[in-house]
Protein backbone atom coordinates (compact mmCIF):
# COMPACT_ATOMS: atom_id res chain seq x y z
CA UNK A 1 0.00 0.00 0.00
CA UNK A 2 1.37 3.37 -1.00
CA UNK A 3 2.30 5.91 1.58
CA UNK A 4 -0.90 7.96 2.32
CA UNK A 5 1.13 11.15 2.77
CA UNK A 6 2.69 10.67 -0.63
CA UNK A 7 -0.77 10.01 -2.10
CA UNK A 8 -2.16 13.17 -0.52
CA UNK A 9 0.84 15.11 -1.80
CA UNK A 10 0.25 13.83 -5.32
CA UNK A 11 -3.44 14.68 -5.08
CA UNK A 12 -2.67 18.18 -3.95
CA UNK A 13 0.18 19.15 -6.21
CA UNK A 14 0.30 16.75 -9.13
CA UNK A 15 -1.93 16.35 -12.11
CA UNK A 16 -1.59 13.17 -14.09
CA UNK A 17 2.12 12.95 -13.51
CA UNK A 18 2.83 16.62 -14.10
CA UNK A 19 3.03 19.10 -11.29
CA UNK A 20 -0.19 21.02 -10.97
CA UNK A 21 1.30 24.32 -12.00
CA UNK A 22 2.46 22.84 -15.31
CA UNK A 23 -0.31 22.62 -17.87
CA UNK A 24 -1.61 19.07 -17.96
CA UNK A 25 -1.37 17.42 -21.35
CA UNK A 26 -5.07 16.61 -21.34
CA UNK A 27 -6.17 20.16 -20.74
CA UNK A 28 -6.62 21.05 -24.40
CA UNK A 29 -8.70 17.93 -24.96
CA UNK A 30 -10.78 18.51 -21.85
CA UNK A 31 -11.31 22.18 -21.09
CA UNK A 32 -12.86 21.55 -17.68
CA UNK A 33 -11.66 18.27 -16.24
CA UNK A 34 -13.50 17.09 -13.13
CA UNK A 35 -12.25 18.41 -9.78
CA UNK A 36 -9.93 20.83 -11.48
CA UNK A 37 -8.62 23.42 -9.03
CA UNK A 38 -5.76 24.28 -6.75
CA UNK A 39 -6.56 21.37 -4.44
CA UNK A 40 -7.30 18.81 -7.15
CA UNK A 41 -9.54 16.06 -5.87
CA UNK A 42 -8.66 16.71 -2.24
CA UNK A 43 -11.37 19.29 -1.61
CA UNK A 44 -14.37 17.33 -3.00
CA UNK A 45 -13.03 14.16 -1.39
CA UNK A 46 -12.80 15.90 1.96
CA UNK A 47 -16.32 17.30 1.64
CA UNK A 48 -17.67 13.87 0.74
CA UNK A 49 -15.86 12.40 3.73
CA UNK A 50 -17.21 15.14 5.99
CA UNK A 51 -20.72 14.62 4.64
CA UNK A 52 -20.49 10.87 5.21
CA UNK A 53 -19.08 11.39 8.70
CA UNK A 54 -21.80 13.81 9.80
CA UNK A 55 -24.74 12.19 8.08
CA UNK A 56 -24.25 9.99 5.05
CA UNK A 57 -27.86 8.87 5.03
CA UNK A 58 -27.44 7.13 8.36
CA UNK A 59 -29.14 8.04 11.62
CA UNK A 60 -26.61 9.72 13.93
CA UNK A 61 -25.72 7.52 16.85
CA UNK A 62 -25.48 8.42 20.57
CA UNK A 63 -21.70 8.11 20.16
CA UNK A 64 -21.76 10.77 17.46
CA UNK A 65 -23.75 13.12 19.69
CA UNK A 66 -21.41 12.41 22.60
CA UNK A 67 -18.42 13.33 20.43
CA UNK A 68 -20.16 16.61 19.53
CA UNK A 69 -20.81 17.23 23.24
CA UNK A 70 -17.14 16.60 24.08
CA UNK A 71 -16.08 18.97 21.28
CA UNK A 72 -18.38 21.66 22.70
CA UNK A 73 -16.98 21.16 26.20
CA UNK A 74 -13.40 21.34 24.88
CA UNK A 75 -14.18 24.52 22.97
CA UNK A 76 -15.61 26.07 26.15
CA UNK A 77 -12.47 25.03 28.03
CA UNK A 78 -10.37 26.57 25.25
CA UNK A 79 -12.33 29.82 25.55
CA UNK A 80 -11.75 30.00 29.30
CA UNK A 81 -8.06 29.15 28.86
CA UNK A 82 -7.68 31.89 26.23
CA UNK A 83 -9.45 34.24 28.62
CA UNK A 84 -6.63 33.74 31.11
CA UNK A 85 -4.16 34.66 28.33
CA UNK A 86 -6.13 37.73 27.32
CA UNK A 87 -3.34 40.20 27.98
CA UNK A 88 -0.85 38.11 26.01
CA UNK A 89 -3.20 37.70 23.04
CA UNK A 90 -3.96 41.41 22.89
CA UNK A 91 -6.19 42.96 20.23
CA UNK A 92 -7.22 39.75 18.49
CA UNK A 93 -8.78 38.35 21.68
CA UNK A 94 -12.29 39.57 20.81
CA UNK A 95 -12.10 38.18 17.26
CA UNK A 96 -10.90 34.78 18.47
CA UNK A 97 -13.65 34.61 21.12
CA UNK A 98 -16.39 35.55 18.67
CA UNK A 99 -15.17 32.97 16.15
CA UNK A 100 -15.14 30.23 18.79
CA UNK A 101 -18.65 31.21 19.93
CA UNK A 102 -19.86 31.20 16.33
CA UNK A 103 -18.34 27.76 15.80
CA UNK A 104 -20.11 26.39 18.91
CA UNK A 105 -23.35 28.05 17.78
CA UNK A 106 -23.13 26.38 14.36
CA UNK A 107 -22.32 22.96 15.85
CA UNK A 108 -25.35 23.04 18.17
CA UNK A 109 -27.71 24.31 15.45
CA UNK A 110 -26.45 21.86 12.83
CA UNK A 111 -26.22 18.67 14.88
CA UNK A 112 -28.14 19.01 18.13
CA UNK A 113 -30.99 20.95 16.51
CA UNK A 114 -30.77 18.65 13.47
CA UNK A 115 -30.72 21.38 10.84
CA UNK A 116 -27.99 19.35 9.11
CA UNK A 117 -30.51 16.54 8.62
CA UNK A 118 -33.69 18.54 8.01
CA UNK A 119 -35.21 20.08 4.90
CA UNK A 120 -33.42 23.25 3.85
CA UNK A 121 -36.61 25.32 4.32
CA UNK A 122 -36.10 25.18 8.09
CA UNK A 123 -32.54 26.44 7.72
CA UNK A 124 -33.82 29.36 5.66
CA UNK A 125 -36.52 30.16 8.22
CA UNK A 126 -34.01 30.22 11.06
CA UNK A 127 -31.34 32.02 9.03
CA UNK A 128 -33.82 34.76 8.08
CA UNK A 129 -34.59 35.45 11.76
CA UNK A 130 -30.91 35.38 12.56
CA UNK A 131 -30.15 37.74 9.67
CA UNK A 132 -32.72 40.29 10.86
CA UNK A 133 -31.42 39.98 14.42
CA UNK A 134 -27.84 40.61 13.28
CA UNK A 135 -29.03 43.52 11.11
CA UNK A 136 -30.76 45.12 14.14
CA UNK A 137 -27.67 44.41 16.19
CA UNK A 138 -25.33 46.12 13.71
CA UNK A 139 -27.76 48.99 13.14
CA UNK A 140 -28.08 49.73 16.86
CA UNK A 141 -24.34 49.64 17.41
CA UNK A 142 -23.75 51.81 14.33
CA UNK A 143 -26.34 54.40 15.38
CA UNK A 144 -24.76 54.56 18.81
CA UNK A 145 -21.34 54.94 17.23
CA UNK A 146 -19.94 51.72 18.66
CA UNK A 147 -18.89 50.29 15.31
CA UNK A 148 -17.51 53.50 13.80
CA UNK A 149 -14.30 54.70 15.40
CA UNK A 150 -14.32 58.32 16.41
CA UNK A 151 -12.13 60.54 14.20
CA UNK A 152 -8.82 61.50 15.68
CA UNK A 153 -8.75 64.98 17.16
CA UNK A 154 -6.61 67.42 15.14
CA UNK A 155 -3.25 67.91 16.75
Amino acid sequence: MANPIAQAWRKLFYHEGNRYFLLPPTNSASPSPPNEGPFGEAWPSMMTWLGRLTYGGRVPTPLFYTIIGVVLALLTGLEVWLFTLKDTIGGSFVTIMLRLALFKFIIVVAFFMHLRFEKSLLSWVFASGLFIAVAIFVLMLTIQGQLIPEPLAPS
Binding site: V59, P62, T76, V80, L98, V108, F112, K119, V125, F126
Partner: protein, 213 residues
Protein backbone atom coordinates in the same frame (compact mmCIF):
# COMPACT_ATOMS: atom_id res chain seq x y z
CA UNK B 1 -45.02 7.64 25.95
CA UNK B 2 -47.32 5.56 23.87
CA UNK B 3 -45.45 3.04 21.74
CA UNK B 4 -48.02 3.23 18.97
CA UNK B 5 -47.53 6.98 18.67
CA UNK B 6 -43.76 6.60 18.42
CA UNK B 7 -44.02 3.96 15.74
CA UNK B 8 -46.47 6.14 13.84
CA UNK B 9 -44.03 9.04 13.95
CA UNK B 10 -41.14 6.93 12.73
CA UNK B 11 -43.07 5.85 9.67
CA UNK B 12 -44.57 9.26 9.05
CA UNK B 13 -41.39 11.28 8.84
CA UNK B 14 -42.50 13.32 5.81
CA UNK B 15 -45.51 15.29 6.93
CA UNK B 16 -48.59 15.58 4.76
CA UNK B 17 -48.23 19.31 4.18
CA UNK B 18 -47.25 21.54 1.26
CA UNK B 19 -43.73 21.86 2.61
CA UNK B 20 -43.31 18.25 3.69
CA UNK B 21 -42.54 19.60 7.16
CA UNK B 22 -45.05 19.29 9.96
CA UNK B 23 -46.74 22.58 10.74
CA UNK B 24 -45.82 22.39 14.41
CA UNK B 25 -42.14 21.92 13.66
CA UNK B 26 -42.23 24.82 11.19
CA UNK B 27 -43.96 26.91 13.84
CA UNK B 28 -41.30 26.26 16.48
CA UNK B 29 -38.58 27.24 14.01
CA UNK B 30 -40.43 30.48 13.19
CA UNK B 31 -40.74 31.11 16.94
CA UNK B 32 -37.02 30.47 17.47
CA UNK B 33 -36.18 32.81 14.58
CA UNK B 34 -38.31 35.50 16.26
CA UNK B 35 -36.63 34.77 19.59
CA UNK B 36 -33.31 35.56 17.88
CA UNK B 37 -34.64 39.10 17.43
CA UNK B 38 -35.66 39.18 21.10
CA UNK B 39 -32.24 38.22 22.45
CA UNK B 40 -30.35 39.99 19.65
CA UNK B 41 -31.94 43.27 20.73
CA UNK B 42 -31.03 42.72 24.38
CA UNK B 43 -27.44 41.80 23.56
CA UNK B 44 -27.13 44.84 21.29
CA UNK B 45 -28.57 47.04 24.06
CA UNK B 46 -26.02 45.62 26.48
CA UNK B 47 -23.20 46.44 24.06
CA UNK B 48 -24.55 49.93 23.33
CA UNK B 49 -24.45 50.78 27.04
CA UNK B 50 -21.23 48.88 27.65
CA UNK B 51 -18.74 51.00 29.59
CA UNK B 52 -21.36 53.74 30.02
CA UNK B 53 -22.03 53.23 33.74
CA UNK B 54 -20.97 56.22 35.76
CA UNK B 55 -20.98 54.36 39.09
CA UNK B 56 -19.94 50.84 40.08
CA UNK B 57 -19.95 47.97 40.50
CA UNK B 58 -18.52 47.26 37.05
CA UNK B 59 -18.31 43.85 35.34
CA UNK B 60 -14.75 43.47 36.52
CA UNK B 61 -15.86 43.87 40.14
CA UNK B 62 -18.59 41.25 40.18
CA UNK B 63 -18.33 38.68 37.35
CA UNK B 64 -16.92 35.32 38.41
CA UNK B 65 -15.61 33.52 35.33
CA UNK B 66 -14.71 30.13 36.93
CA UNK B 67 -18.21 29.74 38.42
CA UNK B 68 -19.95 30.83 35.21
CA UNK B 69 -17.72 28.47 33.20
CA UNK B 70 -19.04 25.58 35.28
CA UNK B 71 -22.67 26.65 34.76
CA UNK B 72 -21.97 27.01 31.01
CA UNK B 73 -20.59 23.47 30.97
CA UNK B 74 -23.71 22.25 32.79
CA UNK B 75 -25.98 23.85 30.19
CA UNK B 76 -23.95 22.42 27.30
CA UNK B 77 -24.19 18.95 28.81
CA UNK B 78 -27.95 19.39 29.22
CA UNK B 79 -28.12 19.92 25.46
CA UNK B 80 -26.25 16.66 24.97
CA UNK B 81 -28.71 14.91 27.32
CA UNK B 82 -31.61 16.39 25.35
CA UNK B 83 -30.39 15.13 22.01
CA UNK B 84 -29.79 11.69 23.53
CA UNK B 85 -33.37 11.64 24.85
CA UNK B 86 -34.72 12.34 21.34
CA UNK B 87 -32.36 9.76 19.87
CA UNK B 88 -33.50 7.04 22.28
CA UNK B 89 -37.17 7.83 21.66
CA UNK B 90 -36.51 7.32 17.94
CA UNK B 91 -35.24 3.87 18.89
CA UNK B 92 -38.35 3.36 21.01
CA UNK B 93 -36.27 2.90 24.20
CA UNK B 94 -38.64 4.63 26.56
CA UNK B 95 -36.77 4.04 29.82
CA UNK B 96 -33.59 5.65 28.51
CA UNK B 97 -35.64 8.46 27.01
CA UNK B 98 -37.17 9.27 30.37
CA UNK B 99 -33.77 9.02 32.08
CA UNK B 100 -32.20 11.57 29.72
CA UNK B 101 -35.20 13.93 29.92
CA UNK B 102 -34.87 13.90 33.70
CA UNK B 103 -31.11 14.50 33.29
CA UNK B 104 -31.94 17.61 31.25
CA UNK B 105 -34.36 18.76 33.95
CA UNK B 106 -31.69 18.20 36.65
CA UNK B 107 -28.96 20.00 34.71
CA UNK B 108 -31.32 22.86 33.85
CA UNK B 109 -32.23 23.20 37.53
CA UNK B 110 -28.54 23.24 38.49
CA UNK B 111 -27.96 26.00 35.94
CA UNK B 112 -30.85 28.00 37.43
CA UNK B 113 -29.44 27.54 40.93
CA UNK B 114 -26.09 28.87 39.72
CA UNK B 115 -27.91 31.89 38.33
CA UNK B 116 -29.88 32.49 41.53
CA UNK B 117 -26.67 32.34 43.59
CA UNK B 118 -24.88 34.62 41.11
CA UNK B 119 -27.69 37.19 41.22
CA UNK B 120 -27.83 37.18 45.02
CA UNK B 121 -24.03 37.64 45.25
CA UNK B 122 -24.26 40.57 42.81
CA UNK B 123 -27.02 42.20 44.84
CA UNK B 124 -24.95 41.76 48.02
CA UNK B 125 -22.05 43.46 46.27
CA UNK B 126 -24.28 46.41 45.40
CA UNK B 127 -25.22 45.60 41.81
CA UNK B 128 -28.99 45.83 41.36
CA UNK B 129 -31.13 46.35 38.29
CA UNK B 130 -31.39 50.05 39.20
CA UNK B 131 -27.79 50.63 40.26
CA UNK B 132 -26.26 51.47 36.88
CA UNK B 133 -26.54 50.76 33.14
CA UNK B 134 -24.48 47.60 33.50
CA UNK B 135 -26.88 46.27 36.16
CA UNK B 136 -29.97 47.14 34.12
CA UNK B 137 -28.81 45.60 30.84
CA UNK B 138 -27.15 42.60 32.52
CA UNK B 139 -30.10 41.60 34.70
CA UNK B 140 -32.63 42.06 31.90
CA UNK B 141 -30.64 39.97 29.43
CA UNK B 142 -29.59 37.16 31.75
CA UNK B 143 -32.90 37.30 33.63
CA UNK B 144 -34.91 36.71 30.45
CA UNK B 145 -32.54 33.90 29.53
CA UNK B 146 -33.08 32.38 32.97
CA UNK B 147 -36.83 32.70 32.47
CA UNK B 148 -36.50 30.76 29.20
CA UNK B 149 -34.53 28.04 31.03
CA UNK B 150 -37.17 27.91 33.76
CA UNK B 151 -39.98 27.50 31.19
CA UNK B 152 -37.91 24.78 29.48
CA UNK B 153 -37.42 22.90 32.76
CA UNK B 154 -41.18 22.95 33.47
CA UNK B 155 -41.97 21.90 29.90
CA UNK B 156 -39.56 18.95 30.02
CA UNK B 157 -40.72 17.93 33.46
CA UNK B 158 -44.18 17.63 31.95
CA UNK B 159 -42.75 15.65 29.02
CA UNK B 160 -41.03 13.17 31.33
CA UNK B 161 -44.21 12.07 33.06
CA UNK B 162 -46.81 12.17 30.28
CA UNK B 163 -47.32 10.23 27.08
CA UNK B 164 -45.96 12.33 24.27
CA UNK B 165 -45.06 11.73 20.62
CA UNK B 166 -41.59 11.96 19.11
CA UNK B 167 -42.49 15.27 17.52
CA UNK B 168 -43.51 16.71 20.90
CA UNK B 169 -40.11 15.81 22.32
CA UNK B 170 -38.28 17.12 19.24
CA UNK B 171 -40.08 20.47 19.56
CA UNK B 172 -39.27 20.86 23.25
CA UNK B 173 -35.70 19.79 22.43
CA UNK B 174 -35.38 22.50 19.77
CA UNK B 175 -36.50 25.06 22.35
CA UNK B 176 -33.95 23.74 24.85
CA UNK B 177 -31.06 23.82 22.36
CA UNK B 178 -32.01 27.38 21.45
CA UNK B 179 -31.70 28.38 25.10
CA UNK B 180 -28.25 26.77 25.00
CA UNK B 181 -27.05 28.67 21.92
CA UNK B 182 -28.24 31.97 23.38
CA UNK B 183 -26.13 31.26 26.46
CA UNK B 184 -23.12 30.45 24.26
CA UNK B 185 -23.32 34.02 22.92
CA UNK B 186 -24.06 35.60 26.32
CA UNK B 187 -21.15 33.79 27.99
CA UNK B 188 -18.70 34.91 25.33
CA UNK B 189 -19.90 38.48 24.84
CA UNK B 190 -20.76 39.49 28.40
CA UNK B 191 -18.57 37.32 30.59
CA UNK B 192 -15.39 36.67 28.60
CA UNK B 193 -15.17 39.73 26.36
CA UNK B 194 -16.90 42.21 28.67
CA UNK B 195 -15.12 41.13 31.84
CA UNK B 196 -12.47 43.82 31.76
CA UNK B 197 -14.98 46.68 31.41
CA UNK B 198 -14.16 49.23 34.12
CA UNK B 199 -10.97 47.38 35.01
CA UNK B 200 -8.53 49.32 37.16
CA UNK B 201 -10.73 52.39 37.42
CA UNK B 202 -12.25 53.86 40.52
CA UNK B 203 -15.86 55.02 40.30
CA UNK B 204 -14.82 58.65 40.07
CA UNK B 205 -12.24 57.97 37.37
CA UNK B 206 -14.73 55.91 35.39
CA UNK B 207 -17.43 58.57 35.68
CA UNK B 208 -14.96 61.17 34.50
CA UNK B 209 -13.98 58.96 31.56
CA UNK B 210 -17.63 58.46 30.53
CA UNK B 211 -18.68 62.07 30.98
CA UNK B 212 -15.50 63.54 29.57
CA UNK B 213 -15.65 61.26 26.51
Amino acid sequence: MAQATVAEDLHDHIADTNTGISNRKLLIWVFLASDCLFFGSFIATYLVYRNESTIGPYPNDVLNIPVTSVSTFVLLMSSLAMVLAVNYLKQNRLGLTRFWILAVVALGTIFLLFQVVEFSVFVNEGLTIRQNLFGTTFFILTGFHGLHVFIGVLWLLGMAFTNRSLEDLEISGLYWHFVDIVWIIIFTVIYLIGFSDGEGLSTIEHAAAVIGG
